[in-house]
Symmetry: C2
């Protein structure tokens, strides 16, 4: 079971008594979700996701996450809509955890996106950046370069047990990022984790984006750099120039990038690869006893990082 917190039928009934969601037809724990416990809730009105927020999510951040989904959904962005209870609150408590109900989003992850899918992902990311404007809460990115030294320190001693040369890679890339990180490029609310499993497609069209629990304020182009890491490498970690070109084209069809953003993209892509390498490396080296989760392989991101390190910024030229 990937359910971290069990919910009894009595606790569920008591929680739902304050909502107008109809009669419960079924309630099933969903696999996946490293951070939280998710249940699929079906009622005679509709289908919902009920999320219990576990320790890895700071309760103080929840108004940002829930508020952002609400802000975006109300502006027509295809993402889960937080459901308010009769008191107007979208955030409550269940089984001792903060809990929220959000609408269910149809669609499926694409395992092997084509350049067309990447174009749509780029369009959608730019739409999200634009529609997030005016959202009133701010949340700094805890995993920007200022957060990386701790992750390097906690993993460097054992890094080479995962892959030879890993310690040199993370320590030198940290220095590189610190020395070359851009200043004064456009910033705003970013998703910061728009990987393939968080983007759904239906009938070949992008149907929505989920999982805003890494969303934060940062450079908009950093989100693109995450997206390039997420969407533009194949199963063997080889860069896909066409996918990248289409992602950038899609994004720029909505919001053209400034020259300074394009110039910073390679540094940001190396930084994004380093960020996911570091969290994966820490998870890999510190799998807790009785863990529910198989950690992701850090080598997927050392490979990306090495690619960006040797590539020129021409990889981001739009063909």
């Amino acid at each position: 079971m990937a359910v971290y917190t069990e919910v009894t039928d009595e606790a569920l009934a008591s929680f739902l008594a304050n909502y107008d969601l109809g009669k419960v037809l079924s309630f099933k724990g969903i696999a996946g979700g490293v951070e939280n416990t998710n249940y699929l809730l079906r009622t005679d009105k509709d289908t919902y996701i009920l999320t219990l927020y576990e320790k890895r999510v700071a309760e103080a951040d929840l108004p940002f996450f829930i508020g952002l989904m609400d802000h975006l959904a109300h502006r027509g962005f295809a993402c889960p809509q937080p459901i308010r209870n009769r008191n107007g609150n979208a955030l409550g408590h269940l089984e001792g955890r903060p809990a929220a109900i959000i609408s269910f989003l149809e669609g499926m992850e694409i395992s092997h996106p084509t350049p067309d899918h990447c174009f749509m992902a780029g369009v959608t990311m730019a739409n999200m950046h634009q529609k997030a404007q005016g959202f009133s809460i701010e949340r700094p990115n805890a995993l920007d370069p200022s957060g990386w030294p701790d992750l390097v320190e906690s993993s460097r001693a054992r890094a080479d047990t995962v892959e030879p040369g890993m310690e040199e890679l993370i320590t030198s890339e940290l220095v590189f990022a610190q020395q070359n990180w851009p200043a004064q490029i456009p910033h705003g609310v970013i998703h910061a984790d728009m990987f393939k499993d968080n983007v759904f497609f239906l009938d070949g069209q992008l149907s929505g984006v989920i999982d805003f629990y890494f969303a934060c304020n940062d450079y908009l182009a950093y989100d693109i750099a995450v997206g390039i890491n997420a969407w533009c490498f194949d199963d063997d970690y080889r860069f896909d120039q066409r996918a990248c070109s289409q992602l950038l084209k899609g994004y720029q069809s909505i919001r053209p990038l400034e020259a300074a953003e394009l110039a910073a993209l390679l540094v940001l892509a190396r930084g994004a690869a380093l960020r996911f390498l570091l969290t994966r490396l820490n998870d890999w080296l510190n799998v807790p006893e009785g863990a529910f989760v198989v950690p992701h392989d850090p080598k997927a991101f050392s490979a990306r990082l090495k690619f960006f390190r040797q590539s020129g910024s021409t990889v981001f030229d739009i063909a």
Copy 2:
């Protein structure tokens, strides 16, 4: 994630091409399921469960499990209905695993059943026993007393590390069961795992039974003995006489027990407690590295076993 086998969208599309289930709207791995990988599949026609059978389930047993659900569902028993593909097969292969699609059953597990719920569980078990008659495949119970010596041997040396006195308990109870196991009481197809999580309720009524992957041919009264272990103890492992009385009344409202079955019930209840104690103990002592599953506490069943050991058979008197 509790998903043991990931299914790509391409593999799913290829598998479903041979079914008439409509357009896929979503596909989510379900938490839970120690033995198998389960996905919730929603299409524009209906909702289904897609199961991939993992190593712990013998492929040779699948025609029994699938055939039994089919047999029962066609006789009006509320259980999942296996879905046949265009070739008439309900069993196929997906991602290198045997796989089947079954209908989705609405309802929810009751965390704390009342005696009324126990009555309904008894009724439903008896209905299952009757409707299973005429099912043509046989499957011996691998976890009857002949299967217990191996489980005792593989756990006895470390049993007392789980609970003092555990080794004496399992070794002496094994001997007791072997010497007192009944002969020549009615047998047939039993569920053998009708725990609370496998029985759904909706609007206070029993809506169906799931998970037939321990079903087998054995004494019908042994299924009742499993049910008493499953339904008639509270969270503190205290026996609930009224719950037990109602479960037996419910069962006998459909199929009255013979005198020999009633006389054997205490031995069978001790045996059922020992069977779940032994498998839980083995799972507890042998949690594999990187396990997805938190093993169930064996002490829940040593407590039941000790209760039955000291109780007289009057605990099964129907008040």
